[in-house]
Amino acid sequence: MTTTATAGSVGLVTAQTLHFDEPLALACGRSLDSYDIVYETYGELNADRSNAVLICHALSGHHHAAGRYRTDDRKPGWWEECIGPGKPIDTRRFFVVSLNNIGGCHGSTGPASINPGTGQPWGPDFPDLRVRDWVHSQARLADRLGIDCWAAVIGGSLGGMQAMRWALLYPDRLRHCVVIAAALRLSAQNLAFNEIARHAIEADPDFDNGHYLRNGKVPVRGLSLARMIGHITYLSDDAMADKFGRELRSGSLEQGATEAAEFQVQSYLRYQGSQFSESFDANTYILMTRALDYFDLAREYGDDPVAALENSRCRFLVVSFSTDWRFSPARSREIVDALIAARRDVTYVNIDASEGHDAFLMPIPRYLDVFSAYMQRVEADR
């Protein structure tokens, strides 16, 4: 599917869609009778189908992880720093599969899709999803692509939770699990941030209890506010100081100045919020944050992460970032310690980085080096 590769990039890519007709039983008790999954692939699947890598996306992610659709696209895929020829997930060696999860809003079936039962958009009636539902749907995608066992399942943040769930639900279908900036479950502080984000959306009059699409409206203000809150939590204090400081975009702080001062950080947040609200579905945002809230790797194993991880058979790489306070290094060490106690093979690195949670998307040399080194081992273990 890759047509031209420029240096370090997979080049031009196209998305594909698969339709699934076999009903998917969901953790909430309902089922999804049929659904579409949109995905992209980079690199070539080898003859014995042993070099496939699955990318699980985070809260606001999607299938477009690398490359560009058109040469004049302003931005490449969201994980361009880590996927491509010569990059940690080297597309000269691996066949990379990146999908948009169901419940999403970038082409896979989700709340903005038409409910075949009513002919109207699903909206808030779309079933609640949990991380395990995504993992089951990803396993069906693997079946259709003829992949029995992933060389690695890789994810950051909410994606890391999917990767861990893979290791428990399908222990024979992955050889390595790469868990970046994730946690065994959310802390109360994390739950609180998600609640504020949902509240912002639900309080927008245009939200209309989730039925906004019926009336051709979008809760732009609520979605934008939700994103602004989220964005602050993905950055560190230092990263914001470095990026914006107290620089003014307009106005003045002089006494007697008539024009109100606008700080750079204000304008940045507004821009991020408005961009996001134009491209993301509010019901999907609510669904994704709920899935995050519900996730608790060990709940069904007597709340014992060691007992949970004893069900895994793969090797693990766990990565955290020093200034990440949304999914702090302490949360990653909980995963690592449970793996040690479960006597599983684990490598752990805590990367010194000023960028906070967003660091997992950034070209930080030590991060890329150790990630590349680990992926060489993944290739050797094929």
Binding site: R333, R343, D345, V346, T347, Y348, R366, Q376
Partner: protein, 196 residues
């Protein structure tokens, strides 16, 4: 291969589970994997060393020995190795206890501060020894707990640690007999195989 590592290799059973405290760039764990088929884990704190060890295909945990090892279950490894790190930790006695809690056996190597050259340097010049083997000056050395062969064996006796075997490395291969006969004077590196 570093001489102390060649000596340790003899005490590791094929297929053993080995934890290497302060594994550096993973040179020794790689050797154990290739020659003894061990399943090894390394603990290291230096980021360049960690990347180098991961590049060798090893499982490495970024962890500070001085912050404790209580995340490792009792008797979860066959052998816990600490090569040339005893003198660099804050509480060498506690690390020894932890090694023998986590592993059935421990292997420790350290530079012997009782070596005659150290003694001569200190006695004749009145200054802390600096040599090719101990290249740091007193104020910037990571080696904060130097000890002698006799110091170490006294500590083991106090703690009820049994010495299964010991081996001494001298200035050169021809000094092996000298180093093993009068280790506190002639051993540059002391190597101990211990248990409880």
């Amino acid at each position: 291969m570093r001489q102390d590592l060649a000596h340790i290799l003899r005490w590791i059973r094929p297929g053993a589970r080995v934890l290497d405290l302060g594994c550096g760039n993973g040179e020794f764990l790689e050797l154990l994997r290739d020659r003894r088929q061990v399943s090894g884990t390394g603990i290291e704190i230096d980021s360049d060393n960690i990347t180098a060890a991961v590049a060798r295909g090893l499982s490495i945990l970024q962890q500070d020995l001085d912050a404790g090892l209580d995340n490792f279950p009792d008797q979860s490894f066959d052998t816990v190795v600490m090569a040339h790190a005893l003198q660099a930790v804050h509480y060498p006695d506690r690390v020894l206890d932890e090694m023998l809690r986590i592993g059935r056996e421990g292997i420790v190597t350290f530079p012997n501060f009782g070596h005659w050259q150290c003694r001569l340097h200190l006695a004749s010049r009145g200054r802390m020894p600096v040599s090719r083997f101990m290249p740091y000056t007193w104020y910037d050395t990571p080696n904060i707990h130097f000890c002698t062969v006799r110091d170490f064996e006294t500590l083991c006796a106090q703690k009820g640690i049994r010495i299964l075997a010991r081996d001494m490395v001298g200035n050169s291969a021809s000094h092996a007999l000298l180093a093993n006969s009068w280790p506190n004077l002639f051993a540059l590196t002391a190597i101990y195989h211990i248990t409880r």
